[in-house]
């Protein structure tokens, strides 16, 4: 941890509001772990506000930090927001351990199918074996049929699940 991060953590412990001006700059000035360290000090409301006001890099850092934050399902709306984006980094991060733990079956299945559309490897979806069900299998089979009808290849990681 560098000096900037150490000082930022002290400031947030004294005044949690300080996180809002420190978090956007934390990776640039504090290094790759600084954002996660700051998030560990604030409550679910602050995490949601940081996500809402964040750029793509900040949102990615939040999504990746969620599994370690002990927020229960409170951060689920952030994951749902990320799944509505068209940014493969955010979509992949949304289907990490936190999304896999808390998304309902419908949202999880659509997240997986979205990965297929965006060429995100299914291997990066956390807990796919555990959450795989007949309905998701049907959705992937229908997708494969649509690809074949169009004369397109079916991705290998989809074929393996059929």
């Amino acid at each position: 941890m560098n000096e900037w991060t150490a000082q930022a953590l002290r400031q947030v412990r004294e005044d949690p509001e300080a996180v809002h001006r420190l978090f956007p700059r934390a990776e640039r000035l504090g290094g790759p772990d600084a954002r996660a360290a700051l998030l560990a000090l604030v409550d679910a409301g602050a995490v949601a506000a940081l996500y809402r006001d964040g750029d793509a890099g900040e949102r990615l850092a939040i999504l990746r930090a969620l599994p370690g934050l002990d927020l229960g399902p409170a951060a689920l709306p952030l994951v749902e927001d990320a799944l509505r984006t068209n940014d493969a980094r955010l979509v992949a991060a949304a289907l990490g351990p936190y999304g896999s733990r808390w998304l309902d079956d419908h949202a999880f299945r659509h997240g997986v199918l979205k990965c297929v559309f965006m060429s995100i490897p299914l291997a990066s979806v956390d807990g796919l074996d555990r959450r795989f069900d007949a309905e998701l299998a049907r959705m992937l089979a229908d997708h494969a049929a649509e690809r074949r009808a169009a004369g397109r290849e079916v991705p290998q990681d989809v074929l393996e699940r059929l």
């Binding site: 956007p24 006001d53 965006m118 060429s119």
Partner: protein, 280 residues
């Protein structure tokens, strides 16, 4: 040849443009915030736009091997609209973001008192955020507007090397050269500057503090104008080093003052070998 377009509105362009720009040598761009061709009705519309400039647009650019940074501001035209005034209270938190390398476009459109107030307020925000400033000069009454711009910059105590005065021409370049500010030229198919006139200005004033941009947007414009200037420079006897200075090092020299330019390998998308914008 590598090109850094220091002023281009990519949200108004298609992925075909990104492909053609990459093929022409463009590897980095700065997209300043401006108006939409249609007046916005409120602050929320600006915030969504700023979020696009910080999220979707850099992601889209990265798919085509181009680094995207932005400059954020309340533009001169909408500085006159009271519905948009509160953008100024939202700006400070946006100016902290990693890919924001300047405040801009600021300056004058119709030379109103409101424009001046907003211009001065944003020079102060830039100083607080330790960012350089991209200043638009007006289409109408350009010479008077440029002179007034330089007076305001001087009066606000902004150091000239932190200011890029844009959309210059033969009549306005001299006073900006004297001021110590950086000089920007927008090369357009019909209006503003063309490549041959640009070369003539470079011959007269040299290549120091000179930036050339396409300012391509939703109007008649061409994102490859930077490359055309480079070719015209070479054809008229400038060296490859001169071209590299004007079209690569000078934009880095100006925006690099932010401390936030990141021209490392473009990574987003490469991760998923995506050569197109995926539709999920």
């Amino acid at each position: 040849m590598r090109i850094f377009d220091p002023h281009i509105h990519m949200t108004s362009r298609t992925t075909d443009d990104y492909e053609r720009m990459y093929a022409a040598g463009v590897r980095a761009v700065v997209e300043p915030a401006f108006w939409l061709g249609q007046p916005r009705t409120g602050v929320g519309s600006f915030l969504d736009y700023f979020d696009s400039l910080l999220g979707w647009e850099p992601y889209r650019a990265a798919q085509y091997g181009i680094r995207h940074h932005c400059a954020l501001a309340l533009n001169p035209k909408e500085a006159n609209d009271p519905r948009c005034a509160d953008v100024l209270t939202e700006l400070p938190r946006y100016l902290l973001k990693d890919s924001v390398v300047a405040v801009g476009e600021v300056g004058y459109d119709s030379m109103t008192p409101e424009e001046e107030r907003v211009f001065e307020a944003q020079l102060a925000l830039a100083a607080d955020a330790d960012l350089p400033v991209l200043v638009h000069t007006p289409h109408r009454d350009k010479t008077a507007g440029t002179r007034r711009t330089l007076d305001v910059v001087r009066a606000c105590g902004t150091r000239p090397e932190r200011v890029l005065v844009d959309h210059l021409n033969e009549l306005t370049v001299g006073m900006v050269a004297e001021s110590g500010c950086w000089m920007g030229f927008s090369i357009y198919p019909d209006t503003k500057m063309d490549p041959d006139r640009m070369v003539a200005i470079l011959k007269e004033y040299g290549t120091e503090r000179m930036l050339v941009n396409s300012a391509a947007d939703w109007g008649r414009s061409d994102p490859l104008k930077t490359r055309q200037v480079a070719d015209a420079m070479l054809a008229s006897g400038f060296t490859a080093d001169d071209v590299d200075r004007v079209l690569w090092h000078n934009p880095i020299g100006f925006y690099g003052q932010s401390g936030r330019l990141d021209l490392g390998e473009v990574s987003a998308g490469a991760e998923y070998a995506g050569n197109t914008i995926r539709r999920g």
